[in-house]
């Protein structure tokens, strides 16, 4: 019974992990510069193609390929910020204009990749990375790609959390997210912090795309096809919550795989409708709870601390004293 379940759950975890890595970058963008960057998914495509190129020179060398994908996408993100978004943000344009600009950037990158891939003959390409089984559980093979994605998601989440909580740069980033004007007049070097933010955001997009590209065929629409899934994740997360992004990533991953399989085997729903599940999540969240499912602006450590406090002798949050 349910012979598909173990494989489906594993695939959900894999997809969810990719979403977590990529969406953490988008959450950072939304939190720090308040930009719904519709070009974010294109970093995924670029990362996938960097994987294709670099893996042909360094087959199976995950460290080199991953670093190349991260750095190249970070450079692209920084360039996009300097050329397109910064001039607009300096003029304090409305969010509509920024959204339009991010669509334009996305379209430019997408068809740029199309042109290059068309000339280079790699409109559909695979990375030269061997996929092998690490273990077999319930007739399901746990391959190295699955393990890589899951470990990477955990590693990135922890590293990002530590960066934001413990380093001055990370704290400055949160300060800009929390109160932009005060950050400026406090002497925080806002342009530099924002540059670093773009480097991380683009790099994470590229890294996620590279890992996704080991599993699937890399095409110029690799990123665009996941655009709305990634936005589903950040909308579930309430746009700026990092913990929420991690939860949201796995919600979308499970809805696309385990829930889809369930609907397919029991209700005979065609797999072609799979992309509709994240759409449904977007609509439901936006209509019912636009602030998302996670408490906003709460990062993981503080959440853990809250649970710890709740379970210790002092069960209550310190109440702000009334005056």
């Amino acid at each position: 019974m349910l012979e598909w379940l173990a494989g489906s759950i594993l695939l959900s975890l894999f997809n969810g992990s990719i979403y977590v890595v990529v969406s953490l970058g988008l959450t950072l963008t939304l939190a720090v510069v308040k930009l719904p960057n519709f070009a974010h998914a294109e970093f995924l495509t670029i990362g996938g193609y960097v994987g294709v190129i670099v893996s042909s020179a360094y087959p199976d060398n995950l460290l080199v390929i991953g670093a190349a994908a991260f750095l190249f996408c970070a450079a692209i993100a920084l360039a996009v910020h300097r050329v397109a978004f910064k001039p607009l943000m300096d003029r304090k344009v409305s969010i509509y204009i920024l959204v339009l600009a991010s669509f334009a950037v996305a379209q430019f990158i997408r068809y740029g990749v199309f042109s290059w891939a068309s000339v280079a003959g790699v409109l559909s390409a695979t990375q030269n990375i061997k996929v092998y089984s690490l273990a077999t559980l319930y007739n399901t093979e746990l391959t190295n790609v699955y393990a890589l994605a899951i470990v990477l998601a955990i590693l990135i989440s922890v590293l990002l959390e530590l960066f934001l909580k413990l380093t001055t740069m990370g704290k400055s980033m949160r300060a800009i997210a929390s109160n932009f004007d005060l950050a400026r007049i406090s002497g925080i070097n806002v342009p530099r912090v924002v540059d670093v933010m773009w480097i991380i955001a683009g790099g994470l997009g590229g890294l996620g795309g590279m890992v996704f590209g080991i599993y699937t065929t890399v095409t110029p629409v690799l990123g665009f096809n996941t655009l709305l899934d990634i936005f589903a994740v950040v909308i579930i997360a309430g746009l700026t919550s990092f913990t929420g992004t991690i939860i949201g990533g796995y919600i979308v991953g499970f809805s696309q795989n385990t829930l889809m399989d369930f609907l397919h085997y029991y209700f005979d729903v065609s797999f072609g409708y799979q992309p509709l599940l994240p759409f449904a999540l977007i609509i439901i969240i936006l209509l019912l709870k636009p602030t998302g499912l996670a408490p906003s602006s709460q990062t993981g450590l503080s959440l853990i601390r809250r649970f710890a406090r709740r379970s210790s002798s002092n069960p209550k949050e310190p109440e702000p004293p009334k005056e």
Partner: protein
């Protein structure tokens, strides 16, 4: 220390401050008073580079800082406590203080400053990990002042720090300012709604009306001038 000459400034193309000249000397406690909408906040924001300056000049400690970017002015040892949104609500108390001193490069000096600030406001010591957004109004203002002091300012500008505070808390906060001025040798410019209270603490006063300087002088001169009180500060201030 701070000298403003014939300043005309405002937002967009609208001039709100119209030809104000005014000088702050080392060690002064200046009370900047005036009715609602007289441009008090705009004047101090102009000093910090947060408005458009059309004409005039601002000199701080001999350096012309007219039309500098706020980030650059922040490194001039010029502290500012805005009226609203003066802390980082999503950061903890200790992170707020740390980022206040982000312009101080020396680690030891930063720790030293932090000790002094915490000594002034013991309440900040008791809950270093509390999110600033969850503090009470009075505590938040104290954190805001403490955050500004972390940059070791020579001049501290406060924009209505007592607005929306209970009278007893407001009184405490203002007393702290006197202490800060004496102990830390900081010059203070205080924007206040409560003119009488502010003038009682200050050694100089500036009355701003409709973006123009209506009167400058010692608190005694201002409180003796019945016309100024009646016209600009309200009968109750007598």
């Amino acid at each position: 220390m701070l000298e403003i000459r014939n300043l005309i400034s405002g937002y967009g193309k609208l001039a709100i401050i119209q030809d104000v000249s005014f000088k702050v000397d080392e060690g002064d406690f200046v009370a900047l008073v005036g009715p609602n909408g007289s441009g008090k906040s705009t004047l101090v924001k102009s000093i910090l580079g947060l408005t458009n300056i059309f004409e005039g000049s601002i000199t701080f400690q001999g350096t012309n800082i007219t039309r500098w970017k706020p980030e650059k002015i922040a490194k001039m040892k010029l502290g500012y406590v805005p009226q609203l949104a003066n802390v980082f609500p999503d950061l903890t108390v200790s992170e707020n203080l740390e980022l206040g001193g982000v312009t101080i490069r020396d680690e030891d000096q930063r720790r030293h400053l932090r000790d002094r600030v915490v000594e002034l406001f013991p309440i900040l010591k008791s809950r270093p990990r509390q999110r600033a957004g969850l503090l009470s109004g009075g505590e938040r203002q104290m954190l805001a002042v403490g955050r500004a002091l972390m940059a070791e300012p020579r001049l501290l500008i406060l924009d209505e720090p007592t607005a929306a505070l209970a009278p007893i808390v407001a009184e405490q906060l203002l007393q702290r300012l006197v202490e800060i001025r004496e102990k830390m040798n900081v010059t203070i410019v205080l924007v206040e709604q409560n003119a009488r209270k502010a003038l009682s603490l200050a050694n100089r006063g500036l009355v701003l009306v409709q973006g123009k300087s209506a009167f400058q002088g010692t608190p005694d001169q201002i409180s003796q001038d019945k016309d100024i009180i009646r016209l600009f500060l309200g009968e109750l201030a007598i």
